[in-house]
Amino acid sequence: MSAARTPDETRTVLDSDDIARALTRVAHEIVERTKGADDIVLLGIPTRGVYLANRIAERIHVIEGRDIPVGSLDITLYRDDLRRAPARALLPTTIPPGGIDDKIVVLVDDVLYSGRTIRAALDALSDIGRPRMVQLAVLVDRGHRELPIRPDYVGKNIPTAKTEKVLVHLVEFDGDDAVRLSGEPGEGS
């Protein structure tokens, strides 16, 4: 239970070691549940999902001694909230050479919240090919789903209030590794 915080204050919920441990655990779970990760493709959702996908692929390489195909899947063109903000720049979509047909695609994102991003990602995937199975790995599940979507691998469940923000920093993009909460905890935290 947190003490009273001002809205501007941030609270670190995962530090660099926590993130490393969480990703290692997720990597093990993927290997275990896909029975050796033989035909998986990791697709990160830009921006931070792509770095997380790369880190998970490195860990699977350590475990299994094999290179795992990693790509990125931009979902901007499939968003259902485009009209709520000025048009956004597109981010790269790169599908590994082997494609995704008949593969197990593991979508990787930093935070799972409403589920709308993943809905868009599923639509985007279906325009690219037909995977055998699609799974979802996230670093943080903060709750408040608005669609029937459930993650297969979770680094950390963090109960939040809707008024709070989850800030994920990764070394590759932000210079440090941390997950922080900011804003008013409010009811139901």
Binding site: P86, A87, L90, I128
Partner: protein, 326 residues
């Protein structure tokens, strides 16, 4: 980005790069099996063409359809437009039909500005070529093509040398290209007989010359503009023979270009007039590629203008003051 794309001058450096980068991402997506994207589902794009231009219309139509927009083609031929219906009444009809964007090609310079600022319609207006004024999406696709060949497909065109040759006076392609290429940092030289350079060209953000040969050896790209033979009758040049001798791109002139230089033409070409057939069909020619890139660039423009929230119009609506002598 502004709500409309009327002139290449509407795009600042960031906007121009955003369009080109977006077009590059979209180009990557169009290699896949399912080319269609759901992004503009439920949006209506009207192609309002007062001039025959099958190429441009098809390019915009393909772009809008790949983004899942509903497309209505409204051509001046065989419609009420040719029976004397005014641009205003046509615009009001399109507005009533719920057009989110109007792509307009018109023989009168400024007709897209009129459409955008008269209050007749609420949607975005894209200039697909107006009179002898501008053709901004052509300039964008030309810049995209140059960037692919001369800048590794990234960033701007700083320091690249582009020679634009021909009937600059009547060319909307040249006007838009000069503005956009200057924004992107390229060094543009216009080459034409003095009769085919516009009054005041010395105030444009480019240089100009009457001699073609001296502007080929250091050019990274040379763009040949269409020259209509009929201009001869208005004494812009004596004969088409003399024109192509002095300003046509033949094989001898092409061989003056550096190895990496590309040859461009907005089409349709007058083979044998401004460009020799051997040059148009040579390996340096990127003319077919320009057509392909046109669809991606137009998708990018439609996406950026239409996909996001419609914002208030940031144009200088207080036009009264600026034309008054003090």
């Amino acid at each position: 980005m502004n709500r409309h794309l009327l002139s290449a001058a509407d795009l600042n450096h960031d906007d121009a790069l955003l369009v080109l980068d977006t077009a590059a991402e979209l180009a990557a997506l169009t290699d896949r099996a399912v080319k269609k994207l759901p992004t503009l589902r439920g949006r209506t794009v009207v192609n309002l063409f007062y001039e025959d231009s099958t190429r441009t219309r098809i390019s915009f139509e393909a772009a809008a359809k790949r983004l899942s927009a509903d497309v209505i083609n409204f051509s001046a031929k065989g419609s009420s437009v040719s029976k004397g219906e005014s641009l205003k009444d046509t615009a009001l009809t399109l507005e009533a039909m719920g057009a989110d964007a109007v792509v307009i090609r018109h023989p009168a310079s400024g007709a897209p500005d009129r459409l955008a600022h008269s209050g007749w319609i609420g949607g975005s207006v894209v200039n697909a070529g107006d009179g002898t004024h501008e053709h901004p999406t052509q300039a964008l696709l030309d810049a995209f093509t140059m960037r692919q060949h001369l800048a590794g497909g990234k960033g701007d065109l700083a320091g690249r040398k582009v020679t634009i040759v021909g009937d600059v006076l009547h060319s909307r392609v040249a006007r838009s290209n000069v503005l956009l290429l200057a924004t992107l940092g390229a060094e543009v030289t216009l080459v034409a007989p003095p009769t085919l350079l516009p009054f005041g060209v010395e105030t444009w953000p480019c240089s100009f010359s009457f001699d073609l040969d001296s502007h080929l050896t250091s050019a990274d790209a040379v763009m040949m503009l269409r020259v209509q033979r009929e201009r001869m009758n208005a004494a812009f040049f004596p004969t088409s023979r003399e024109y192509s001798r002095r300003y046509g791109l033949d094989v001898r002139r092409m061989n003056l270009l550096p190895d990496h230089a590309i040859v461009m033409h907005p089409g349709p070409m007058n083979r044998g007039m401004e460009i020799a057939a051997d040059v148009a069909d040579s390996e340096r020619s990127v003319i077919v590629e320009q057509v392909t890139n046109g669809v991606n660039v137009r998708m990018a423009v439609l996406y950026l203008l239409l996909a996001g929230a419609q914002l208030g119009e940031p144009d200088g609506s207080d036009r009264t003051a600026e034309g008054t002598a003090s």
